[in-house]
């Protein structure tokens, strides 16, 4: 049997490396379009300051990009190294978008980033702008394919289990691509990236303005960031709602946990603005409810019900019991694959196969199953409520905070007096960590909320791991933490150094701080 310790360490390692990777990704996604905007203005107006803006913000973007790529390779490796059974079981479906991402997007982005930095003197203005645009397109396509893969983990459509090959196999590629979960996730995630890029430029520009240096450069950057950021954060919030809607259809469990909905409320269900969830007694000790709101967000109707946690667990209990039959039928069928009766028996209940596999966390053979074990497995099917509930609310709160900051930034940009509003500049500066925190919380909700599954309803997390020793995991986890800490220190050092140097680091002679500094990145 697979030790729980091994599973926990494997999950921890994936969580650490994935969350770390996503410190760099959203900035890359957002900055590419900001660079496109700045360079387009340069090409259209011919004003050198916009070229300097593209090059300076591009320099910071480059420092970030290098680590985004490097830490992304870790994630690709990790499916094979630490999640071998997962890779076998769903590689037929999950591997394809990853490979296509490489072919269609990652090559594009990585080839043109070289020309973006080194091609200024060798390309015409229009050619260089084209390079920047292709780099941005590549980055966003890359996010699309990764989120198609991730969306399939949340809502595994377009695939079927094959008892001969013992794995999920793709039956409809277009269904996998146009998975509503994947599409909603893509738009929500890239918008969050655009917001991150905008906040980055807004904060650092605000800092220059507070210091009273490189004022013209900072003002122009601030305005672009304010407009782009406002549009982006609106899209994050509106399309985040869309994401909630699709979650409601495919993953009611996640929704119920996120909202601390223990009971199935009469439609339209109320929204718990604040609650103190009590896991043991399956109720909220305290809650402030807003009537109707949850029902409308979750179902887009006034009459459809949203199932609560208790109801979901009862349904899952039935599916686990049926799933035991499915696993037994599968084993019989694999021994005599040509028996049509066995095949028919398996086909009737194979939809519950994944639920039967949940019991493998506790027993090697189903003779050992007791009512207590079934109870444990049933309880496993809903993630812990409190972390879901609070992470989600914190994420949404950060979203609205950023909406206000970008809203005021845009308002005073239009009025033209933002540079004298020190409270606005200070808020923009201190809000710098907000988008990163929001992104990390969002991924936590998405991935923790899918537990106990790696592929929802199909493959339990517990079975997905590689059969490694616990010591190997301690070793590799220590290695990752060590390397990643050093890389983060180097990255932050460079980022802060160049942010402090400002556009003077381009060595054009037009900006502050140009004397005696180390110029090349």
């Amino acid at each position: 049997m697979i030790s729980e310790h091994l599973v926990d360490l494997s999950r921890l390692q994936f969580a650490v490396t994935a969350l770390y990777h996503f410190l760099f990704v959203p900035l890359t996604i957002g900055m590419t379009w900001i660079l496109v905007i700045m360079e387009s203005v340069y090409v259209m107006t011919g004003k050198t300051i916009y070229k300097d803006m593209t090059r300076f913000w591009g320099k910071l973007y480059g420092i970030n990009f290098a680590l985004g790529v490097t830490t992304g390779i870790t994630l690709e490796f990790q499916f094979g190294t630490n999640w071998a059974y997962y890779s076998h079981y769903v590689g037929d479906v999950f591997g394809a978008p990853l490979a296509i991402e490489g072919l269609m997007a990652f090559f594009l982005e990585s080839t043109f980033i070289g020309l973006f930095f080194f091609g200024w003197n060798r390309l015409s203005r229009q050619q260089h702008l084209l390079v920047t645009i292709l780099m941005a397109v590549g980055t966003n396509l890359s996010a699309l394919w990764i989120l198609i893969a991730n969306g399939w983990m949340q809502n595994p459509v377009g695939a079927e289990f094959s008892y001969v090959t013992m794995r999920m196999e793709m039956v409809d590629f277009w269904t996998v691509i146009f998975n509503p979960d994947a599409q909603a996730k893509f738009v929500h995630t890239v918008s969050a990236g655009y917001t991150t890029g905008a906040m980055f430029v807004l904060s650092i520009s605000a800092w220059y303005l507070l210091k009273g240096r490189d004022v013209e450069f900072a003002k122009k950057s601030f305005r672009i960031a304010a407009a782009f950021g406002f549009a982006s954060i609106c899209s994050v919030i509106v399309l985040g709602d869309e994401s909630g809607y699709t979650v409601g259809e495919a993953q009611q469990t996640k929704l119920a946990a996120m909202e601390a909905m223990w009971e199935t409320e009469p439609a339209p269900a109320p929204f718990n603005l604040i609650a103190i969830p009590n896991e043991a007694e399956m109720k909220n000790d305290f809650a402030i409810e807003i009537p109707w709101v949850m029902g409308i967000i979750g179902t887009r109707s006034l009459s459809k019900q949203i199932p609560g946690i208790k109801e979901i667990k009862e349904k899952n209990r039935e599916r686990i019991i049926s799933g035991m039959g499915a696993v037994t039928a599968l084993d019989a069928l694999r021994k005599s694959p040509d028996d049509p009766l066995l095949k028919k028996a398996f086909d009737e209940i194979k939809a519950d196969l994944g639920f039967g596999l949940l019991l493998k966390k506790y027993v090697t053979s189903f003779d050992q199953v007791t009512p207590e074990i079934i109870e444990k497995a049933v309880n496993d099917t809903v993630p812990r409520v409190a972390p879901m509930f609070w992470s989600f609310r914190l994420m949404v709160g950060l979203g609205f905070l950023m909406l206000m900051i970008f809203g005021f930034a845009l308002l005073f940009s239009v009025k033209g007096n933002f540079a004298s509003k020190r409270w606005l500049l200070k808020s923009a500066l201190y809000a710098l960590p907000a988008p990163w925190l929001g992104c990390e919380l969002g991924w936590f909700v998405a991935e923790y909320g899918r537990q106990p599954w790696t592929i929802y309803g199909v493959l339990p997390t517990h079975l997905s791991v590689s059969t490694l020793s616990v010591n190997s995991l301690y070793g590799s986890l220590a290695g990752f933490i060590g390397f990643y800490t050093v890389l983060l220190i180097v990255e932050m050092y460079l980022m802060i150094k160049f942010a402090k140097l400002g556009p003077g680091s381009l060595g054009t002679g037009r900006y502050a701080n140009e004397a005696g500094q180390l110029a090349h990145a």
Partner: protein, 365 residues
């Protein structure tokens, strides 16, 4: 849609193409990285060396990433078994990769490309020996070997072959892009590593012929069947790794190409015809990787502890639909990738000199 057995064979070729692409593209910049401390004697010279690959290494690295993705999609069982079985070797490869952005982008002197490339091939050398893993009824793989067992003499020889190959190839590229002292030093390195390549490639071949038992499928096997690695039987036989050259004599062109390509590349490089030499050393890479692939065929990853668990081209692949979709994706995008990569090299072509570094003080690495 093509029939299943044809698709399986095409994907064996395509994985080969991706590995060759990786070795030619990422190989030359890793080779340059390896040579860096030996051919660049001061900071300006080192910057010249780094800037020959500066605009391109990021794109080249994607060959590695896409190769991994393609193996995941086309050979999921191989991906799962190899990456988890070679856990520590894979992590060392990965961690060595972390040094590149720090070494290149962040202007430090750390560079561990060789180290990493060697590991790739130590893993490959182990494939020819067989790898201790097995599957249970639900195809859960268990690896029973230790990390240190990977470090056996034959595998290390394979590691040296690969290091020599990419350093040789990188040296030719570096000669193409530099002048003066760096050019002369690199030429010397090129001759050394070219000779080492020819020597170790020959040693590995003899060893394989005389000293290592190959694997043979001993049961009837239907290439069009749904993949199930446990459905066959396998035996070990002396000399079996060379059997394909007897069965398909045309494949002998591959080892011949390896020798001729390497010799021709050395000759052309000495004559200063560096671009032609680069083409020749690329042909040598095709020959070397092709030789390795044909020797193993149809095996991809033989199991030494449970022979029938061995993974082959026929029974460790994805479904027909997935292979077919992936084939289309490759057919559409590979020519585009080659086209824009060539354009990027063309834009940045020409010699990198100390003067170039001075002119681009604020943009170059």
């Amino acid at each position: 849609m093509l029939d299943y057995s044809t698709l399986k064979f095409i994907w064996w070729l395509l994985v080969g193409v991706l590995l060759v692409g990786f070795a030619i593209m990422d190989g030359h910049d890793m080779g340059v990285g390896t040579l860096l401390p030996f051919v660049g004697k001061d900071d300006v010279e080192r910057r010249v060396v780094i800037n020959t690959v500066g605009p391109h290494w990021d794109g080249n690295q994607v060959w590695f990433i896409t190769g991994g993705g393609a193996i995941f999609a086309a050979w999921p069982l191989v991906y799962a078994t190899a990456f988890s079985g070679f856990y520590w070797a894979m992590l060392i490869v990965l961690w060595a990769l972390f040094f590149r952005p720090v070494g290149f982008d962040y202007r430090s002197k750390i560079n561990n490309a060789t180290w990493r490339k060697t590991w790739d091939w130590v893993a490959f050398g182990n494939l020819l020996l067989g790898v201790p893993f097995q599957f249970d009824d639900h195809l859960v793989s268990t690896y029973t070997g230790s990390f240190w067992a990977l470090l056996n003499p034959f595998a290390l020889t394979a590691g040296v072959v690969s290091t020599a190959m990419i350093t040789f190839h990188g040296a030719i590229y570096l000669m193409h892009r530099t002048v003066g002292d760096i050019y002369r030093r690199t030429q010397r390195a090129m001759l050394i590593f070219g000779s080492l390549l020819l020597l170790t490639f020959s040693v590995a071949g003899l060893w394989l012929w005389l000293g290592i038992d190959g694997y043979v499928i001993s049961s009837a096997l239907d290439p069009a069947a749904l993949p199930n690695p446990l459905a066959k039987t396998v035996v070990r036989q002396p000399g079996a790794w060379l059997a394909n050259y007897g069965k398909y004599p045309a494949t002998i062109t591959l080892p011949v190409l390896a020798y001729l390509g390497a010799l021709l590349a050395m000759l052309l490089a000495v004559k200063g015809r560096t671009l032609a030499a680069f083409v020749a050393s690329s042909l040598a890479i095709i020959g070397i990787i092709g030789t390795a692939g044909v020797s193993l065929f149809p095996f991809i990853m033989p199991s030494s502890t449970d022979l029938r668990s061995s993974l082959t081209v026929w029974d460790s692949v994805s479904s027909r639909l997935t292979l077919s979709i992936m084939l289309w994706a490759t057919v559409i995008f590979m020519p585009l990738i080659i086209a824009y990569t060539s354009w990027a090299y063309k834009v940045m072509s020409g010699k990198v000199t100390a003067a170039y570094i001075r002119e681009n003080e604020h943009a170059a690495y």
